[in-house]
């Protein structure tokens, strides 16, 4: 399976994603400069975390105008798989490829710690390797992770199973005190209607090796690998 991880000016997690896909999961992956206009040959495109354009104005507000984003939209339109992690998720929202918007965390502070997220649906290319309501321990690291979406759109998203992950307690109960940033209904990750675009604030690439404290992030990588029929190294 061929992965491409996009490098925007200011991205800072692309090398982490590259390392996990190449060294841990033994997949082919390349860096894609934000001025590329074609994504031919890739099966899955990763929009990594970081501070594209310094997060100036709004997280992702400027990166969404990079030339590569037109190619990402076409790639997704044709069924290509796209995962936006943290800043990548914010860029997908600003580009309108996923519904809703990100506001500042209600605590007004950057938060970096492990959290628990619950798998809300396993019928997506990104969560089929997990079981329903499985709890994954994956770290977050962001300043603007407070996901908001209009009521009517949220209702529709729930109907269509687009809510993929919610922040929860270690035992899996979705409670306000386990919501780190104020996101509506503890939402941590969503997908588009077709399911081929995923946006999530937690960083799976930071929880793909036991040595770092958790390998639950592998469930996301394994899901997309098995969905595309690729062999999974571990």
């Amino acid at each position: 399976m061929n992965f491409g991880v996009i490098v925007f000016p200011g991205s800072n997690c692309e090398q982490d994603c590259y390392y996990v896909l190449e060294s841990v999961l033994k997949q082919r992956i390349e860096y894609v400069w934000h001025e590329e206009t074609s994504l031919k040959g890739y099966d899955c495109i990763i929009l990594p975390g970081g501070f594209s354009y310094g997060d100036y104005l709004r997280s992702g507000a400027i990166a969404r105008f990079s030339p590569v984003m037109r190619a990402v939209a076409d790639f997704a339109e044709k069924g290509g798989y796209v995962i936006g992690i943290c800043n990548g998720f914010q860029i997908l929202l600003e580009a309108g490829l996923l519904p809703g918007a990100m506001l500042r965390n209600t605590g007004l502070k950057f938060i970096c710690r492990f959290v628990h997220i619950r798998v809300e649906t396993t019928s997506t290319p990104w969560s089929n390797a997990a079981y329903h309501h499985q709890v994954l321990r994956i770290p977050i690291a962001h300043n603007e992770g407070n996901y908001q979406v209009p009521e009517d759109v949220l209702f529709e998203m729930k109907q269509r199973g687009q809510i993929v992950f919610r922040y929860c307690s270690p035992e899996g109960s979705v409670l306000p005190e386990y919501n780190p940033n104020g996101s509506v209904e503890n939402i941590a990750g969503i997908c588009n209607r077709e399911g081929n675009i995923l946006g999530m604030m937690p960083h799976p690439e930071r929880a793909s090796e036991g040595i770092l404290g958790s390998s639950d992030g592998l469930y996301i990588w394994k899901s997309i690998l098995s969905h595309c029929g690729a062999d999974v190294a571990i």
Partner: protein
């Protein structure tokens, strides 16, 4: 204009030395250049003589003090580059921007050597938390460090934090940065090839940080112009991130002959130091320097300390590729200088010489042997009669009071604002004795710790500094690593006061003796003087930054209890030493010494034991006793491990 030099902080004999060196009176631009290059901050004129007593050589040491950062060989063809610096005064003016620009400065010192920055640590000191001003400074500094480090993608993995009245008017914001690189990637900050080109990369130049030198600018000093000379700069981590990637790419493609960041004394420092180290001269055409404000004068351009700027030296053949790489990363890059034969630094404006000085004379400032006198306060504070202390009845209450006191309680509120995981190298998270990082592509690991209890140094600068060194060594040893080398940041009051300079001399002597015994050379560091106000100086605070190396990352041990049924052993001798303790301050509100003694033989034996025990996997965890002693160490190991312990004191 002879009086003008006084306003710039130059002494009469220093001015006369300049006249001797030039063979004539200096003009405005030259006077400005000497005044900043010969300031304490840039020339270390009061500390140089003492710093030479520190051991800087050792088996793995590739580069000691003298360049932008020290370089240590840790095997497997990998070199570690690390250093610590202070941004105390700017942070007292504007905490957020002061601290943020402090991170930017030290990170530039690392990648200017060719290394990718992989971790930062932030030793911080504030006044009492009861004061609103302290809370304002504390909150601003932490948010500033977070905003910068998180944006450039360098994890802030550790540091230390104390609140003492002595720092009320003078907070300390030190930042340590660590980078790694393949050994052959090392690049020196020197201009050694005549005909090579000096390229200024990054942000445009404004009237930032030119402070006193502004008096030289011809504009009359009216209300309007003070507006134009901002005392605070706004940090731009986004541009710095672009510079990290662009510079590392140019180095990987072997396009550069030299690289230096712009810090204190801006372009003047970068040009004269690279020329001096390379044994060459340099012509600088300042009309080419991209300016942020229209009518800037030569002295303002040469002394501006605008942030996020780098000075790269490359051959004419490589210039185009250097400029195109910078453009690709969205960075402004302009050739502004040419390396010449000889030792003369010439500054030109549209071809006309505005300054002409020997580069080496600028780079090597004066040197002083300051007078030192043992302070009288030492006798009063070290003769306390401990038997007069009333032993509190409820020791449980004492433990609770200590564990919630500002110098001991959890630092989670701070480090959860720092991205301490980016680059997926962090394997021991903040809160443990030492931060531990894996080195991708190698079995080795790095253990990092910075330590200093200013109170101990106040009570006895010699012993207090050695305690800081011993504690940083113990912290890395507690994670199974071998202490290898240190950096430091020596924060003191005014060196012109004999009592303060005595504290400095004793601290450096203690550090030198300790490093000799431990075999951990000093590969670089920083001195910050004049940390005092209204005649009151801070506690002497010589912060030690220790690099430890784990031969095998899998031999690392945590600092919290991990398994039920494990036995707990207290290693080392417990003496009746309450001097300078947190117990004495928090419970009895007394600061009195002497501080605990240092027994280097047992310290070395302990460090060797911990490494051996970790290697042979006979211990599941190890935690160092520091503030709060045994009681707090046990509580910390239980709380962070989420497991209890029962302890018999009378054994």
């Amino acid at each position: 204009m002879p009086e003008l030099y006084k306003e710039l902080g130059l002494k009469r004999e220093e001015y006369e030395e300049i006249v001797r060196l030039l063979g004539r009176e200096p003009n405005n631009v030259e006077l400005g250049m000497y005044s900043v290059m010969w300031s304490e901050h840039c020339s270390y004129k009061s500390s140089k003589v003492e710093l030479r007593k520190l051991p800087t050589k050792g088996p793995g040491i590739i580069l000691g003090p003298g360049e932008n950062a020290g370089v240590v060989d840790i095997g497997d063809g990998i070199a570690v580059v690390f250093k610590m610096e202070s941004h105390n005064h700017p942070s007292a003016v504007e905490p957020f921007q002061g601290a943020a620009t402090g991170v930017g400065g030290i990170v530039r010192d690392i990648f200017t050597m060719g290394a990718r920055p992989i971790a930062c640590l932030d030793p911080l000191r504030f006044g009492s938390l009861k004061e609103p001003r302290t809370r304002y400074l504390f909150e601003g500094v932490v948010a500033g460090i977070a905003s910068y480090g998180n944006c450039i993608g360098v994890p802030t993995v550790g540091g230390d934090l104390y609140f003492e009245e002595a720092y009320q008017e003078n907070p300390l914001v030190n930042v340590m940065c660590v980078g790694i690189m393949p050994k052959e990637r090392l690049i020196r900050a020197r201009a050694s090839v005549p005909g090579s080109i000096g390229v200024l990369i990054g942000s445009s130049t404004g009237r930032d940080g030119i402070g006193g030198v502004s008096v030289l600018a011809s504009q009359e000093f009216d209300e309007r112009s003070t507006e134009k000379r901002p005392s605070v700069q706004v940090a731009d981590p986004f541009t710095e991130k672009l510079e990290i990637e662009a510079c590392l790419e140019m180095l990987e493609k072997n396009l550069l002959l030299g690289l230096q960041d712009l810090g204190g004394a801006g372009l003047t420092c970068a040009t004269c130091e690279t020329a001096d180290r390379g044994g060459c001269g340099m012509d600088v055409e300042i009309s080419k320097v991209p300016l942020r404000e229209p009518d800037m004068e030569p002295v303002e351009i040469m002394m501006s300390e605008s942030q996020e700027r780098m000075f790269a030296i490359c051959s004419p053949e490589n210039l185009d590729e250097v400029l195109s790489i910078c453009r690709r990363w969205g960075l402004n890059a302009v050739p502004v200088a040419e390396v010449t034969e000889g030792d003369t630094l010439r500054v030109l404006k549209d071809g006309e010489v505005v300054a002409e000085v020997p580069a080496s004379s600028l780079a090597k400032g004066p040197e002083y042997n300051r007078p030192a006198k043992r302070p009288r306060y030492l006798d009063d504070v070290n003769t306390f009669d401990f038997s007069t202390l009333a032993l509190p009845s409820d020791l449980g209450q004492v433990l609770v009071a200590l564990i919630s006191s500002p110098n001991i309680c959890s630092r989670r509120w701070v480090f959860e604002q720092y991205d301490h995981m980016v680059q997926v190298n962090t394997v021991a998270y903040p809160g443990s004795d030492a931060a531990i990082l894996r080195v991708k592509g190698s079995k080795k690991g790095l253990a990092l710790s910075c330590d200093c209890n200013g109170r101990y140094c106040y009570l006895d600068p010699y012993v207090g500094t050695q305690i800081a060194l011993a504690e940083s060594a113990r912290n890395v040893a507690c994670s199974g690593a071998k202490p290898v080398a240190i950096t430091n940041c020596l924060n003191f009051g005014s060196p012109e006061k004999p009592e303060i300079f005595w504290q400095f001399k004793e601290a450096v002597r203690g550090l030198a003796d300790g490093c000799e015994i431990l075999g951990t050379p000093v590969v670089g560091g920083n001195v910050s003087f004049y940390n005092e106000s209204f005649g009151e100086a801070i506690y002497p605070t010589p912060i030690v930054g220790m690099l430890g190396v784990l031969e095998d990352i899998d031999e690392r041990i945590p600092s919290c209890f991990t398994r039920e049924g494990d036995l707990i052993a207290l290693i080392g001798v417990t003496k009746n030493e309450l001097g300078g303790s947190e117990y004495l301050k928090v419970i009895h509100d007394v600061v009195a010494g002497p501080p605990p003694e240092i027994d280097w033989d047992s310290e070395k034996a302990l460090i060797d034991f911990l490494r051996l025990a970790a290697k042979s996997r006979v211990i599941s965890s190890a935690h160092d006793l520091s503030e709060g002693g045994l009681g707090i160490a046990l509580a910390e190991a239980c709380v962070s491990g989420g497991i209890g312990a029962s302890v018999e004191i009378d054994h």
